[in-house]
Subunit: 386 residues, 2 copies
């Protein structure tokens, strides 16, 4: 099978590595350079998008910000999995919110804002604090504002207007104004749905963000009630989209309730732990789903923590001396804040995993891995009680 | 790091897949076509062997039958790991036997035979039955004879003479005549040694051969006395060779004693289960060893069985529905008896693994997977007692 992936980053790369043993060859289309390439070797192929789509058995995606004309080519082929509606819902917060409402899953109250009048109305109707997010091209904390006090509204609105004016979009920009959720923790659910509508999900993953970017994901044996609630919401969203492939839902947990924060129509950073910790990793399951192969078991094999490597192209090689510690570099050039790789570390039990994670965090400098040591210490405290 | 591997088959391919996450890029030199290529994508590079060796940080190997002039180029670079002596010991049974004697590890009694007089002397001195193996280019059951009755000696010697005359070797061929070992089972030990002389070994693997070719390998929690005996022999051989990389030892087990049958100076088919069942797979550990990175934990994470796919380019996709069942295709063209891929299947316990293996074997037709169902049935019987 030949799979063409829109986007030539680390997710396409890890799909290619997971696909090779299944005789699934993965090529990537870099939407910026408009080149077809191998996402591991970087080999460039002299093909247009249209030719590459024609040569592929399946067309898929590693990200949601695919230009609409490119999506149109993919969708017209009849091979695009997940479909363009799903990709667009991931790339436009307006469509995402409409999807969550249509699927009937809980999410934070919101208004769509394009004018100052609508901005003021949103403040009145939703109350403060508000989180303001650009509808398009906002991810990893970019294009987001927090309005806590009414007296800051004017300044923030000016900033938003400048952002909207400056954004170079072929599509109309807008802001989604959302009620701020005082969450207890952030969790995510990664799962897969096939063409027959079967779904499988991994255990809920606990996520720790630093400056809006994922820093650490922890996969422990799941709490069954919460897992069930998340699975129902996953099924509702995936079914509403007639989704095929791996889909991720990010949640705010408030008490024992989950609210969907956002969806990602793709393999997800918070699912990278599955490479070492799950029976079948998310990359393989995505390929199985889009290629019409049986979905693989999503069982947790070992409690696992994933630590992102951001903006660094070096870690102390001593980390490889730790048992069950696996490095995953993306082969990318170094740039501040850039996702360069990740580390997975597992244990036979949550306690063993937490102890190893502490040993790992001691090898990761605070400057490059902010808050990781605290997360490790907190986890060790927590698993003592287990 | 850039690693150039002599040989462009499945072992180089799986090294490349294991190396990518460590930012180790693996290229392969196909000694037959004399081309440098990517062992996963097949991309051909316009480089000579000498240029490729110069461009690599490390030169390694996926097989032992590398032409001596090619080995000389590798060895001269000072980057060849394991070294040429180790490769030659794997590729020439005379050197292998001398190595085993030098390392002081138990192996079957033998004589080197080049003439009919030596053949007759070997029969007299070693007794019958004898196993006769060509010193060079014999593997997977090729170039082997069994002499059980004295009256067959004449016919077999004629066959051996024809074989030696027909062999197109730049090196002098010979026969190693070995005492036949009435073994209880065949096991192997895969391990790694780094430049500092540190060694790690995986649990002993039980192997089932059909017509001289590996069919099934089973990795269970190891019996400690036997494991210790095997580890000592591994260390003796690896130290004698000043070995760097993954090395495999194949043993005959007789009672509670191990005899080395042969060595393989490379990652080994009986270590493929480590991809799913061990903390660090053999391909990653080989690269760690030759690249000077810390060796990874070889702990058994889950009992695992590996089943070879020989001569077939199709298996029932339903196998992917079984939990913990992973397909590994090599992307090769179909040819009778050719190693085309393998299947790994694991369980949390030996019992669970054996039950899943039985379910798997029911999906594998006897004609293409001879004896696999029997091995599965026998394993299920055996683990009942555990």
């Amino acid at each position: 099978m030949k799979v063409l992936v829109m986007g030539a980053g680390q997710l396409a790369r890890m799909m290619a590595l997971a696909g090779a043993p299944l005789n699934i060859s993965v090529l990537a289309y870099d939407v910026n350079s408009q080149r077809v390439m191998h996402p591991v070797t970087g080999q460039v192929f002299d093909e247009t998008l249209e030719q590459a789509v024609a040569n592929a058995d399946v067309v898929s995606s590693e990200f949601e910000h695919i230009p609409y004309p490119v999506q149109a080519v993919c969708e017209a082929s009849g091979k695009f999995k997940p479909n363009s509606r799903a990709i667009k819902a991931g790339g436009d917060r307006r469509q995402e919110k409409a999807l969550l409402d249509a699927a009937g899953v809980a999410n934070a109250g919101y208004r769509i804002v394009q004018t100052e009048t609508e901005f003021k109305a949103a403040i009145n109707e939703l109350g403060l604090p508000l989180v303001l997010k650009s509808a398009l091209a906002g991810y990893d904390g970019k294009g987001q504002w927090r309005l806590k006090r009414l007296e800051d509204a004017q300044v923030i609105w000016q900033d938003i207007e400048a952002f909207m004016a400056g954004a170079d979009h072929t599509l109309p920009q807008a802001i989604v104004a959302e009620q701020f959720v005082r969450f207890d923790r952030e969790v995510s659910l990664v799962g897969a749905r096939n063409e027959h509508g079967d779904t499988v999900v991994y255990p809920l993953t606990e996520n720790h963000h630093v400056n809006g970017v994922l820093a650490v994901s922890t996969a422990l044996p799941s709490e069954s009630a919460l897992q069930q609630q998340a699975k129902q919401m996953f099924d509702a969203v995936a079914n509403e989209l007639n989704y095929v492939g791996v889909l991720a839902l990010e949640f705010f947990q408030v008490g024992d309730k989950l609210l969907v924060n956002e969806i990602a129509p793709r393999v997800h950073n918070s699912g990278h732990w599955t490479q070492q910790g799950a029976d079948t990793c998310q990359f393989e399951n995505h390929l199985r789903a889009v290629c019409g192969l049986p979905l693989g078991s999503t069982a947790l094999v070992r409690p696992t923590v994933m630590v992102n490597i951001l903006g660094e192209d070096y870690v102390n090689p001593a980390v490889l001396s730790l048992p069950s510690c696996h490095l995953h570099w993306y082969g990318k050039g170094k740039r501040p804040g850039r996702k360069m790789g990740h580390i997975n570390i597992c244990g036979a039990t949550p306690k063993e995993m937490a102890a190893r994670f502490s040993a790992l965090s001691a090898l990761l400098p605070e400057a490059s891995f902010p808050e990781v040591a605290e997360v490790a210490a907190a986890l060790q405290q927590r698993v003592k009680a287990l």
